[in-house]
Structure formats: C-alpha cells, structure tokens
Amino acid sequence: MKTVAKFEIKYLQYLDPDGKPVQKTLPKFAQDVNELVEMYKKMSFVRVFDAKAIALQRTGQLGTYASCLGHEAIHVGIGLAMIPEDVFCPMYREYGAQFERGVQPHEVLLFWGGDERGNNFSGPKHDFPWAVPIATQNHHATGAAFALKYQGKKAASVSVIGDGGTSQGDFYESLNCAGAWKLPTVFVIANNKWAISVPLEIQTACETLAQKAIAGGFEGIQVDGNDIIAMRDAMEKALDKARNGGGPTLIEALTYRLSDHTTADDARRYRKEEEVQENWAKEPLIRLRKYLESLGAWDDAKEEAWKAECAARVDEEVQKYKAAGKPPVESMFDHMFANMPEDLLKQREQAIEEAKHHG
C-alpha cells in the first residue's frame, strides 16, 4: 500500500530533572540569569499561595479548592509568553498564568470562596473566568481567536485543558476548526497523568496527547511541562507563529498532579504513594533552583527571604479575601441581563425581603 501522509511528534526539554541543561543553547530569555531568577520566584510564589489556599480550605475558610501543585512551570510559562492583548481561556487551576496577567490572589480565593466577584478580576477585561465544564473553554478560545483575526489585532488566544479533558468532543471540534481557519490560538494540554482518579492509560490509547493535533491538521508538540524554560520557549514560539498568521499549535505539557484533584478528593484511594514520590523528583521548582544554584544565582538565604516575602504578600491577600464578606443578595440578579425583565425584578425584591428576615 502506498503511503499518503506522514507525521511525527517532537519533544522539547532544556533542563533535566537535576537542573542540567540538555541542549547546547538555551533560548535567549534563559540566557539572562536575572530573568531566570524572576521566573523561579514567580513559581515559588504560586506554590506558597497554593499551600495557603489549601490551609484555608482545611480550616473551613475556603470552599473546595483545586490545587496547582506541580503545574507551576506550565502556568507561569504560559503567563510570561502572553501579552495583555492575548485572550486567556483557563480551566480551573492556572493561577500562575493569571497572576502574570494581573489577576490578584485574593480574587482566586474569592472564586473558590463561593463569590462571583472573584470572576470580575483584575487584569485584561477580555480574559475568560475559570471554566468548570471541561473543554468548553476551547471553543471560547477558538471564537476569541476568530475575533482577534477579524479585528486585525496582532494577538492570539490561549486555552488550557487537562489530559482528561482531551476525551471531550469539544476539544477536537475546536482543534479542527482552528486548523481549518488557521486561527491565532494555542491549545495547551496540561497532562498531569490523572483526571481525578482516572489515569491516562484509561483515558486514551494514544502514546502522546500532542498527536491529537494531527486530527486538526496542524502541529502538535510535546514539552517537558516541569521545565519552565521549555514551556515558555514553546509558548513564545507558538504565540509568535499564531500572531503572525501561522495558525494554531497544540502543546502537550507533561507534568504530574502532585496534589489531590481538589481539596474534596483523597488521591490515596486510587494511586500509589511511590508514584507521587517519583514525580516529586521531577517537579518544576527544584530543577530550576538547582540550575540557578549552579550559576551561583540562588542559595538558601535567598530562598528563605523570598519565601517570607511570599508569605507576607499572600497573607495580605488573604486579608483582602476575608474582608470581602458576603455579597449583597441582589447581586444574584443585577447582572442577569443588561435590560432587566419585569418578573426578575420582582424576584429580586422578594429575595431582598427574604434576606432581611433570615439575614
């Protein structure tokens, strides 16, 4: 039989888990030690925030929370590669990317604290809030990319989805459309090997998730998602391509969910502790820290000082979160429609009345 099409999937890594460069040259941004230090600090901040959020939940001060432990390189890498004019369409744990875009930590807490005001966040007004229904965000990113192209803006959209999310039809529909229309968009798969309790091998027979791009007719690559240099580099190249009319890219970022799925989950029920331990050896912070230490750019004292600074900043944010209190009951109605229907106004009055009584 004759062959009519051929494909291959490439893999990108700059730093190995021990912090040793595996390529002759690093991307330009990574040749600047100060920049690498900044990148490390950003990841480190996210981790401090994450631990605090979990602590708040454990002490009844926050609702269910989705940790991003282990995903810091992917998220900060995305955030650093994007420009404000780009449109970000997250799933539900990409705080590292969002902080970079101006979202405030207390806004993240508000969201998980059961308060819509968290979705009215700082940063680009056009960025999407967290998308809980898996894979729906891909369509928003595809539509946003169309709008950017239509409006002649030199910008792109970025969506993030999990390994589990790649089983949803929406994901493929968007791949196919973005490919057909050559849209300025980047699809990131944060492949952390688990979808709640379902491991990757139950989710799919595919040897890579990057190869899903072949079904969209465009390029997919696999990246070490624990290597922030690789992640940022891949994102920058993909975004550059997108903003310059080169169409979409799919980036499969390999990582591991070091936390429970959310605080409502107990991963010990379904996965082995050894597997988690093995993956701690590959996590994103330690390798960059080792590399920085090898360059003499980081040490224990700096680490301690930075951690303290993070803790202080996170505490401030926690205070803001707590100070927000309960939103007014009428806010449930006030943003339903620009032009409020009569009957809804009546319901609003009723709800205010009720709240007075059992308030």
Binding site: H140, A144, Y150, C177, A338, E342
Partner: protein, 325 residues
C-alpha cells in the same frame, strides 16, 4: 414598500444590521454560498464577504461555543443552527455559558449573540427537523427566547435580538417561512423584546400562542367570531422572559384562557403561563385553563405529523371547553 415573506424579512434584518454594524457576523452550516438550507442567509456572503458570512465545520457545540468567544471580544455573531432539533449539542454552551457569563463575571463580560434556528413542524420534513423546544430555553436563566409569527415581527424582533447585549435564542417557525407576504419597511426599526403583541382584541376568551400556532389560533378566533364569541389573541413573541402583564390584564378582562402550542404538553411553556395565571389571577377565572398542545411524544414522521400538531379543530374544542363552564 416590498411585500416579503417571513424568511425574506429575516434576511432583510440581517443585511440591514450587517450594513450598519461591522461587528455583526453570520456563521453556521451552509450559510455561505448556499445561503442556508432554507435560504435565510441567501445573498449575504456575496454582499458581505466570506469573512463575515462564514460556513463553519459541522458541529453545533462549536458554532455556539465560538460565537460566545466572538461575542465576548466585541463581535455580534448571528449563529444559525440548521434545525432546532440539532441544537442539543450546543445546549451546554447555552445554559452553562451564554446565559451565565454576564452574571458569573458580575458584568465584566457579556454575550451579545443570536442563535437562530428553524423550528416546528408541518413541512413534511424528516425526523428531528420539526422540533419545538422553546420551553427548554425558557427554563434556562440568562437567555432570551424569541419566536416571530409574521414578516413584520420577524424583521423587528430579529433586529432587536441582534442589538440586545445579551444572548437570544431566536426560533423561526419554518411553517410560516413562506406562508404569507406582508409589507415590511426596511428601515432598521426594531421591535421591543419585553412585550407580547395583542393581535386581536376580544372580550370573551384569551388565546395565548406563539410561533406558527398563531396561524391556527387566529383562524380559530375568526371561526368563533362567527358564533359570536370574541377572542383576544396574544402573540407571546418573546417567549422568555414572559410579559405576564399583558396576559394577566387580558385574563382579568375575559376570565377565560386557552394556551396553544405545538411543543409537547408536559412542562411546556403553556404550563408556565397557566401557572402564573393560576397564581396571579385565579379569582378572575371563570373556567379551567385549557392547554391545546402537541402530545407527549416526539413529533412523528410526517404521515402522522398533522395528527400530532394542534389543528384549528383542536383549538376550537379547547375554546369551547372554557366556554362551557
């Protein structure tokens, strides 16, 4: 002024708005060169180009999902779903996103999108091509649902829907697409989305209907007039949120209410109207509230389609029932 069919009025409205607002784009399956399987978008691609009148891949969740993405970024997409029976893959995007983004973000983002879909039976179409599912969207917070029943109202209501800053599900009665012509001035004037239309004033019975069933309802009202019964006919038009005031005022006047719709009875919109009246105007009622509706079965294939749909005879029977008591 031209006499146009309902579907021509829709095309006119889209063309008007596209001409005056560059952010309006039309997308869907076969909307381009083909002008839509019913030809609602006929000529639009020629006139406004492939950038603005876009044939999408065949995927309804995609069509509505990307429309949301577009709408939040400054465009005003008009998405066509080929038949309302194929809108279900997009239901998730409509209920979980379109209807919620404004309130979820406390007003930071909003979704000025119209989802158009031909709806209803009576045209001898294949399975799934004759669905009446407006009640599903009426039960969905945050979206408006509009169903025109004449060329004029189609023109004005579609313009209003495109201009409305929130999502509108615009369900078009296929049976009326080419049934009658009416003079429609192409002046860009919208009709309000927060009111019913009283098509016929009357004193004895209130008839509430919408979409294609307005046809049978008006015929029944004419028929009853011959017997000396004066029917008030209300076209819901914006079927959600409902303008209850007009209905309640009418029922207070007539004391009798018949609701006519093509969709299945159980949990249809007729129930909503009856319930609100049974709460707000119970003591004005002089007779049971009667619903004349499709049966609780899927629309059958077309050999039985006319047995399914409420006929003038069934509407008359309903009216006679409320006159009995």
């Amino acid at each position: 002024m031209a006499k146009v069919t309902l579907i021509e009025a829709l095309t006119m409205a889209m063309a008007w708005e596209m001409k005056h607002d560059n952010s309006v784009v039309v997308l869907g399956e076969d909307v381009g060169v083909n002008g839509g399987v019913f030809r609602a978008t006929a000529g639009l691609q020629e006139q406004f180009g492939k950038d603005r009148v876009i044939d999408t891949p065949l995927a309804e969740a995609l069509i509505v999902g990307i429309s949301i993405g577009m709408a939040t970024q400054g465009l005003k997409p008009i998405a066509e779903i080929q038949f309302s029976g194929f809108i279900y893959p997009a239901f998730d995007q409509i209920t979980n996103h379109a209807g919620r983004i404004r309130t979820r973000t406390r007003g930071r983002m909003h979704v000025p999108m119209v989802v158009r879909a031909p709806s209803g039976g009576g045209i001898h179409a294949p399975e799934h091509h004759s669905e009446s599912n407006e009640a599903l969207f009426a039960h969905t917070p945050g979206v408006r649902v509009v169903m025109p029943s004449s060329p004029k109202r189609a023109y004005g209501l579609l313009l209003a829907s495109i201009r409305d800053p929130d999502p509108v599900i615009f369900l078009e009665p296929t049976r009326l697409y080419r049934m009658n012509k009416q003079e429609v001035e192409d002046n860009g004037e919208a009709l309000p989305l927060d009111t019913c239309f009283v098509l016929r004033e009357g004193t004895d019975v209130t008839l509430v209907s919408w979409g294609a069933m307005i046809h049978e309802t008006l015929l029944a009202a004419q028929e009853m007039e011959k017997e000396g019964v004066s029917c008030e006919v209300i076209d819901l038009a914006t079927v959600s949120p409902i303008d209850y005031e007009t209905i309640l005022d009418s029922v207070e006047k007539t004391g009798r209410l018949v609701i006519i719709h093509e969709a299945p009875k159980t949990a249809g919109l007729g129930a909503e109207i009856a319930a609100e009246v049974a709460d707000q105007a119970l003591f004005s009622l002089e007779a049971p509230i009667v619903r004349v509706t499709g049966y609780d079965t899927p629309m059958p294939l077309f050999k039985l389609e006319h047995d399914y749909m409420p006929s003038v005879a069934r509407v008359l029977k309903g009216i006679r029932r409320v006159l009995e008591d």
